[in-house]
């Protein structure tokens, strides 16, 4: 009797549970080897809204897939540091959450590079502070540089360790005297590779030479793969990552490389929904990853589709459309559109930045805007190989960090064009690949997509949030952004 009376309620409750189960977001953390399927559309919430990854041709089983399987002894997989919920990178917040959930036992915190230095006591949280506070992974580069692009190299600078707070640049095993240099960098997002591998022109204007060829395919290299451009193609990037981050002692097989490449080339990631602005592909805007999937890569925005014109329709929202929005949504959309304009049109004097002011021929200073370097349509990376020195890793422009090693660079031939004969850096960047003093401090520009999900920013995590990115540029180049322009830029970056 009672059951019969409550039958409709029970049925409704069951439907609600079912609906909730269907709409429940997938677990945020992807553990290596867990074997779930990577769906064709994968959404994750972040503080600015929802980010979406599209897998063309998906879904894809990850069981046995080398991107998702722990192929090395430390229990990590590629996905450990390239998490779908974090724009295929890894946010510092996620690292902290993972520490708390596993009490530091997740393979993410492997001694080799998930701690400040393997020589530190690994059970202590402080030994992993760089990863937990700024999302930094230790990168150990050989020193001296001996070869680049298949040619022998003799560095034209010396490197001395001024300060080694973590112990990974001194002693018998670590540091220049032991044949290596440890720097600390953010994992770069593994998505939208169609754009990062695209080649717009046959020449590298920053190096004054035609682009080198991919050693495998013979195609021209984009030069936009890694922070210091050490990998010539995805294969070399994978081999570098598997031997260091996964501690994989063997070589990846051609079949494994093909499978990882296939996955990476099919994946597109971008913010899809803004908490404040609503759906980013509505009201005439074309935000979100579908536009990335459907566009041709490698186009210079200045001679084709302007960079961030995905939001051009929000410049003039009709009164009819405006009536469908809340006042907050309307204001946010207008702000994003202004931000795109500011990004393209607000010029300032770019000074003393190698890769821009030298040796290209633009002069020092040169007046231009953000889009001068962030010039590829749809992506905001550089159409040319993007090695430039914004000062984020090098004094006097870099912020003071007492937890990073500090190196003294001494140029043995010509002085650095802007820093002189001797200068100080936390990360020599591209110079650790080329061996050239003039390249010290240069870091490859990266994709601007998916920023909302992967704080902090810049290669060393200098900017804790999007506002800090704008603030860095403001103090580096004395741009005189208004408060509204700063917020417009933050809002723009939150929807990319």
């Amino acid at each position: 009797m009672t059951l019969i009376r409550f039958r409709p309620l029970l049925a409704a409750a069951a439907l609600l549970v079912l609906a909730a189960a269907q709409k429940a977001p997938p677990p945020r953390w992807w553990s290596p080897g867990e074997g779930r399927s990577f769906p064709a559309t994968l959404d994750y919430a972040n503080e600015h809204g929802t980010q979406r990854s599209l897998l063309v041709g998906g879904p894809m089983p990850t069981k046995g897939h080398p991107f998702f399987e722990p192929i090395g002894p430390n229990g990590r997989a590629c996905v450990t540091c390239h998490q779908p919920a974090d724009g295929m990178s890894l946010s510092a917040a996620t690292a902290r959450q993972r520490w708390d959930e596993t009490r530091g036992r997740d393979p993410l915190f492997a001694a080799s590079d998930g701690s400040n230095c393997p020589s530190l006591p690994q059970s202590e949280k402080a030994s992993h502070s760089l990863l937990l506070e700024r999302g930094l992974i230790r990168i150990q580069r050989p020193w001296p540089v001996r070869e680049w692009q298949g040619k022998p190299v003799t560095p034209d600078f010396t490197i001395d360790v001024v300060r080694d707070p973590n112990g990974c640049n001194s002693g018998e095993k670590y540091g220049p005297k032991a044949g290596n240099v440890s720097v600390y960098r953010r994992p770069r997002p593994v998505s939208n590779f169609k754009y990062l591998l695209a080649v717009g022109f046959a020449y590298d204007p920053k190096q004054g030479i035609a682009l080198p060829r991919d050693p495998d395919s013979g195609a021209m290299q984009s030069g936009n793969l890694m922070a210091d451009n050490r990998a010539r193609n995805l294969r070399e990037q994978m081999e570098d990552a598997s031997s260091t981050h996964l501690e994989f002692a063997k070589h990846l097989t051609p079949a494994q490389i093909d499978r990882i490449t296939d996955f990476e080339m099919r994946l597109y990631t971008a913010q899809q929904v803004s908490k404040q602005g609503g759906a980013l592909d509505s009201g005439g805007a074309t935000g979100g990853p579908a536009k990335l999937r459907d566009s041709e890569p490698g186009a210079l925005g200045s001679i084709g589709t302007p960079v961030w014109s995905e939001y051009a329709a929000w410049e003039k929202i009709s009164s009819e459309d405006a009536a469908k929005l809340t006042p907050e949504q309307l204001a946010f959309r207008q702000s994003v559109a202004r931000g795109a304009r500011t990004f393209r049109d607000k010029t300032f004097l770019i000074t003393d930045s190698s890769g821009i002011n030298s040796p290209v021929g633009f002069g020092n200073p040169v007046r231009n805007s953000c889009v001068f370097c962030h010039n590829m349509a749809q992506m905001g990376n550089d159409v040319a190989p993007g090695q430039v020195d914004l000062g984020t890793t090098t004094l006097p422009y870099a912020d003071p960090f007492d937890d990073l090693p500090l190196f003294r660079i001494t140029c043995l031939k010509a002085p650095h064009p802007f820093y002189g004969r001797t200068f100080y850096t936390y990360d020599p960047g591209f110079a650790l690949t080329t061996g050239r003093c003039a390249d010290a401090g240069k870091i490859t520009l990266q994709s601007m997509r998916g920023l909302a999900a992967r704080a902090p920013y810049f290669s060393n995590g200098l900017a804790k949030d999007l506002r800090a990115v704008v603030d860095y540029y403001e103090r580096r180049y004395n741009i005189s952004y208004t408060e509204r322009e700063k917020q417009d830029l933050v809002n723009l970056m939150s929807v990319l």
């Binding site: 030479i209 035609a210 041709e296 002069g363 007046r367 001068f372």
Partner: protein, 259 residues
């Protein structure tokens, strides 16, 4: 008597370089510290100025394909124009080249002071994106030489000038399929006194120029047979893409296709 006549001609030619104000069409060559005028007409619109100390004349040198660094001295080479608009507030040199030298300068920036500067215009010598189909050069093909030009004492292939010339050569070579290419780097190693400064390029920059051009050709045209050579003591040559500037014509590499 004949020698005296030659000498007087040389003196007449040299006169505009020092004591007297240059006139339209004159070639001026001097070393100075550059001054940046922040005339904001948008991207890449700032003005570059340089004073010829001997004459006290300030020139607008903004139209050089390779621009100054306000921290360093600059070698200016250019032709005085009759441009009366003076968008940067000074007599315009065009064509003009501004080579960055190693001597430090006090950086100096002027406000616009009402001068509009120039809105950026894409230079005529600019590379075509790879996405744009190109019509291959038409034959018949015979031995030909392509020059590529450089800044003073440097071997850097400058964006939207030297790269354009190099790329034209490469496209022609791809179509012409020569048996061999010889790249000869030149250096202006004979010392010259300019504004009281003795200037001479390093002899080794000749080979550096040949090598950088050859490496680009190897990357653009895999399998191409290339030989590099060097020549010091380069003399001015009549080469159209040097834009009538003798100093620029000396600082070059030549790509010679042999059949």
């Amino acid at each position: 008597m004949k020698n005296l006549s030659k000498l007087s001609t040389l003196i007449a030619l040299a006169a505009p370089l020092s004591a007297f104000a240059a006139e339209t069409g004159d070639y001026v060559r001097f070393v100075s510290c550059p001054v940046y005028r922040d005339a904001d007409s948008g991207k890449k619109s700032g003005c570059w100025l340089a004073d010829e100390r001997a004459s006290g004349k300030r020139y607008d040198v903004s139209q050089s394909p390779y621009k100054p660094d306000w921290n360093r001295a600059v070698l200016v080479e250019g032709l005085v124009t009759a441009d009366s608009t003076a968008p940067c507030g000074s007599t315009v040199l065009n064509p003009v080249r501004t080579s960055i030298l190693s001597e430090p300068c006090q950086r100096h920036m002027l406000p616009a002071e009402g001068h509009p500067g120039r809105k950026f215009v894409l230079p005529a010598r600019n590379l075509t994106p790879l996405s744009v189909p190109r019509k291959p050069p038409a034959g018949p093909f015979a031995a030909r030489t392509f020059p590529v030009f450089f800044e003073f004492d440097r071997a850097f292939v400058v964006y939207q000038y030297s790269d354009f010339l190099l790329d034209n050569a490469a496209q022609w070579i791809i179509a012409a399929k020569p048996a061999k290419v010889v790249v000869t780097g030149y250096a202006a190693t004979d010392p010259e006194s300019v504004s009281g400064v003795t200037l001479a390029e390093r002899p080794e920059v000749a080979l550096e120029r040949a090598e950088i051009v050859a490496e680009s050709l190897r990357r653009l045209i895999p399998g191409l047979i290339i030989e590099t050579r060097m020549k010091t003591g380069a003399k001015p040559a009549d080469l159209p893409d040097a834009d009538g500037l003798p100093g620029q014509s000396q600082r070059r590499a030549e790509i010679s296709a042999e059949f």
